[in-house]
Amino acid sequence: MREIKLTVKGRGVIKGFAEGLALVSRQNLSLWGGLNPETGLIIDRRHELYGQQVRDKVLVFPYGKGSTTGAIVLLEAVKCGNAPAAIVNVKTEPILASGALMAKIFYRKTMPIVERLDRNPVEFIRTNDYVMVNGDEGLIEVRRSRELYK
């Protein structure tokens, strides 16, 4: 089975290394009213990712939106072991970045975030691609098996 491998450069918002299966949405996402930290599920009925599990995934979406409570939702998700492994945005909202920063400060959890890639991540990354996120250098590597690429 041959693999497609793609490395794209962007800007590291939060440092660190993480990897996992991608969960991709073209819609902006609000953590409050969007993510249930106790289950790791997306609970926004109007969102295309409704019902999806974010735990250990590389979450890919354009921008954050909505409530300023957001960061604590991420912190509770970390506390419950349901946080995503990493996040990739077109542009990272400060509320989300603050949450990941504080995950490190309060819970020693590394959750790298990368934004402003050379290519729009929601266009070239697909759900279930394997993504490695390097927040130190702002790089992501995307792997997709040929079989899926049909």
């Binding site: 918002v13 939060i14 902006n28 409050w32 009213g33 969007g34 930290p37 106790e38 609970i43 926004d44 009925r45 109007r46 921008y63 954050g64 939106k65 909505g66 409530s67 300023t68 409570t69 957001g70 960061a71 604590i72 939702v73 912190l75 509770e76 970390v78 506390k79 909202e93 400060p94 509320i95 970045a97 603050s98 949450g99 920063l101 504080m102 400060i105 309060f106």
Partner: protein, 411 residues
Amino acid sequence: MHLTKQEERMLAGDFGESVQLAMEILTGVGDIYGAEEMTKIASAHTVMTPYRDIMDAGVEICERFAELGAKYSVPTTLDPAGMDLQRWREFKIPETYAERQMRIVRAQEKLGGIPVWTCTPYLHGNTPLLGQHLGWSESSAVVFANSVMGARTNRLTAVVDMAAGIAGRVPKFGLHLDENRRAGVLVKIETGSKKLTDIDYPAIGYFIGKQVDDKVPMLTGIPQDVSTDQLKNMGAAAAASGSVALYHIPGVTPEAEKLGKVLQRDHCKETVKLGLRELRETREEMCTKRAGKVDFIAVGCPHYSIRELGKAAALLKGKKIRRGTEFWIYTTKHVKMLAEKMGYFDIIQSSGAQILTETCMLVSPTDIYGFETMMTNSGKCAHYAPALCKTEVVYGSIEECVEAAIKGFVQ
């Protein structure tokens, strides 16, 4: 980031662990966003208040700050709690939940938080002035402070807002800077001969939020006699459906005048039209259901003003809420006190409707009551209700809400 000598000492721990922790958080955020320096703030507003939202991680962090002896160094107001702090037993809030909520209350008291427990601090003792730098959370309050008062704050978040109140400063980036406060999109509201009324403003906000995301819109077509409540409700909806933190209305908002030259139409790269069709479509989008049985009517998101409460009382006078239907009005303790003095409270109580204070339908465990369909005149509430209250939602005017409460259904 360039820090002053004082700020370096704060970060080094010279003023105690809580200040050091606050500065670690604030400088961390500043570095991510390329802030060159910090700015002192006139006030803060924190959302580290409702148990349902901040959960055990939130309780832990509030208590951690309290244990470290943290004290807010600038006036810091508190957002709604996760239950009516007086009447929670009546509303069947579980004891375990209430116990956690009271731990948050006590921790925030220790820090010196101002116990207004409202999302409308700008109407309850935390009134910013033009050009003042602030450190506020609560998206609906941020957009009001920035737009209507011309103050300057980013949309902070939980914990960062406490850090801002403790350190008395925030990293200077984003909306603290002139260049980020210019309009980037023009929204032309054109409804012809149809005058805008209360029900239109949340829908206008909802539409704007969806269209512009986090850009700064300039709005034309808003009448000069638009009211405080109408702007309050419009902004809240825009901050919920999108991430709007600042808008300009020529002749209404203070910076639209002052920065008039900068906000001329040719600076706006995009134009979006909001006509009768878009307004109607938005109102439909705000509903998950348009007709049928309604068992819960909730208004007061943002918290009802005394004017809004008076209007609800006038509609409820001599009427009775249908059995099996609840009508809850959310506001502050101060407004409730005024309502008692003005006779509104008696009218509302006689109808069977309830006034709840210091909380709201989105941050209290509204899902425990098993309501199926909620009706509201709030754009922000309509947006979040399906996920947070686990109900269908109907959006309508206060007149339509009262009618639905009396009949038990909406047509």
